[in-house]
Symmetry: C2
Amino acid sequence: MVDQSIPEARTPGTAPGETDAASAGEGISRRRMLGTAGATGLVLGTAGAAGGYAAAPSEAATPLTSLGTDRAMFHGKHQPGITDALQARGHVVAFDLAAGAGRKEAAALLRRWSETTRRLMAGEPSGHDDTDVARDAGPSSLTITFGFGHSFFARTGLEKQRPASLDPLPEFSSDRLDKKRSNGDLWVQIGANDSLVAFHALRAIQKDTGSAARVRWQMNGFNRSPGATAHPMTARNLMGQIDGTRNPKPAESDFDQRIFVPEKGEPTWMANGSYAVVRRIRMLLDDWEKLSGKAQEDVIGRRKSDGAALSGGTETTAMNLEKTDAEGNLVVPINAHARITRPDQNGGAAMLRRPFSFHDGIDTDGVPDAGLLFICWQADPLRGFVPVQRKLDRGDALSQFIRHESSGLFAVPGGAAKGEYVGQKLLEG
Amino acid sequence: MVDQSIPEARTPGTAPGETDAASAGEGISRRRMLGTAGATGLVLGTAGAAGGYAAAPSEAATPLTSLGTDRAMFHGKHQPGITDALQARGHVVAFDLAAGAGRKEAAALLRRWSETTRRLMAGEPSGHDDTDVARDAGPSSLTITFGFGHSFFARTGLEKQRPASLDPLPEFSSDRLDKKRSNGDLWVQIGANDSLVAFHALRAIQKDTGSAARVRWQMNGFNRSPGATAHPMTARNLMGQIDGTRNPKPAESDFDQRIFVPEKGEPTWMANGSYAVVRRIRMLLDDWEKLSGKAQEDVIGRRKSDGAALSGGTETTAMNLEKTDAEGNLVVPINAHARITRPDQNGGAAMLRRPFSFHDGIDTDGVPDAGLLFICWQADPLRGFVPVQRKLDRGDALSQFIRHESSGLFAVPGGAAKGEYVGQKLLEG
């Protein structure tokens, strides 16, 4: 049982056109990998994005028969964890390089991280002193994603390689940011459909840092478990809203252009990369829940039940911004969150929102310290996140029920080819 | 779609002999309940404890095809959440009655809590102002369990009903307890295989308190996702050990006698109830992970790979306490954790361990604030938890790698019959 190999792993949520032959056919050794499929002989549905935001609205959710054995690919055009289906458990962690550590130490660290990631995403133990916490489990759609913060470049003497897109985000008047939980030299996002697999990966990534870097901040999050619902667009947040309705879809012709830096973009080491904005957005749930359901829907501009715009139709029906009721009032209020954030009202800006919810216990006032680990992806933050947040900052109806408590902006390079490590073109360019 | 009902719900992890006809056949209304089974027409395996500690070692794990639709029963001989399979997500929360609130308010609160629990465990919305956070999802094996702490009885004028078994636990020399995170008038345990379903329940339970009680402490935990492994005894903790090997099994003839208060026990309102010991046990992972795998196995007395005793065999093979190696040394070291905690070395004491792991981010020293939300169940704490912990307190090999940071002891009454609420025999006795 221990040495059983699984020659054919499935690839959940791979973006169209993205292929990765590197790991196909590699046996998974040492760790027990008796997934539910193999062990029970169940008839399997097709593999694919199970209930994630990226599923096309007409698709039924993929049956959950392979939670443990599903795997994402490490090698590829893009890093994993951007277009993959939402995972049930997530960690984000920022590191600062240690005093004295520079470009050489950073390169060695990214090389270690990449090798650990390649192994863990394939369901193998980490290369050294594996803690056994993920033992018995499959990769469970584990993804690990790496990014560089603004401060990384001065510390490594790579200022000239720093993209203009990493310039600090503007200050928003509604921000209440904790600098200790913001930014950082290096950023890592971990997601998996099993909490122990995710924790195991977080600990392995932390141990890889050795003396080169130390944790600056770390946060935990979660999403719905695949299989808990068959609703095709399943992501609800802790306010009870369906979240991510207007996300661009990988099948759309301009998806890559909006989300990824072009192949011949600037700087060249960011080719096929993306920029991640990461914000801890606390939800003021006591205030929010005092509103009636109707009042909540007016704040958002969409129905809570199914995410349809208040102007009618289904979740995917275009919002009718002009529609009025019998008294002549706009059906979608003028300050409704979904009206303000509509991409076609923001110069076509688009970002791919791929968040986790968070819940860190009870605050001193008895209210859950809970909300959204907002993570969004775009080719250019100045055309994605910034213009939308500027509009929201002038006062959408939702702003009084949320509080931005931390913020980070990270340059996430493209995926590593086989034999490469993530960020190699920057660190050895 | 919205009003589709699910006439036949399955009962995961019900203990043998425990039946509950109360909710069978009740339709689930309002909430969308297109579970994977109904939506896809998959051939379903038999329902049962999926990968939980209670599975007999020879059983294969149950295929995970029904994560959302699986439900546990509220009404029954025992409360749910004791013998049910481990869930992927858990919350424990303690409340103190508000100043001025007494027996009457407590009775009304337990009545509200019981009705909310009955609804949520059936996959229905809570009765009032549902937040929609669990909308679209099935009950996902949700369980909610209620207990009374020592302090509850004086505050409600029920001192004469207070069981002797609720007398404060002895102080252990290795305890480093935070009183603010210990004990409490009322205790609630929530578990589900979906994080949003669990959060939704926690919030509904909190809102039910109104002005009668306030949160004293609250903690979050997790276990492996069902389906992440096919290993039949799957519970690993964050030290990488298989956890719960020696748990009594519901099929054993003395299981009920060890875990539940007898039908005609004392006090009578505790008939079919159980006592829960709840401890936040921090793991000192940096120290632990510095040990070699062999050294870790010597601390525990079992192999990390499969949980087998170091004296040989498989996970379920009885430990040979006398076996020596070629040099005459005991193969299972004299201070090994598993040797000291063996039930037959402790006067036959037995407790049912049903823990969650916890991970509350990174501590100031950069080490994860992580460990075990230890929850154990027994008919009598003085014969279950206490004698074992006394032995451990004298120094098992594991003690230097863990730290008991909080402690609670709660009387968990038997299950509510249809039309009753939990604790009714106490509060209206």
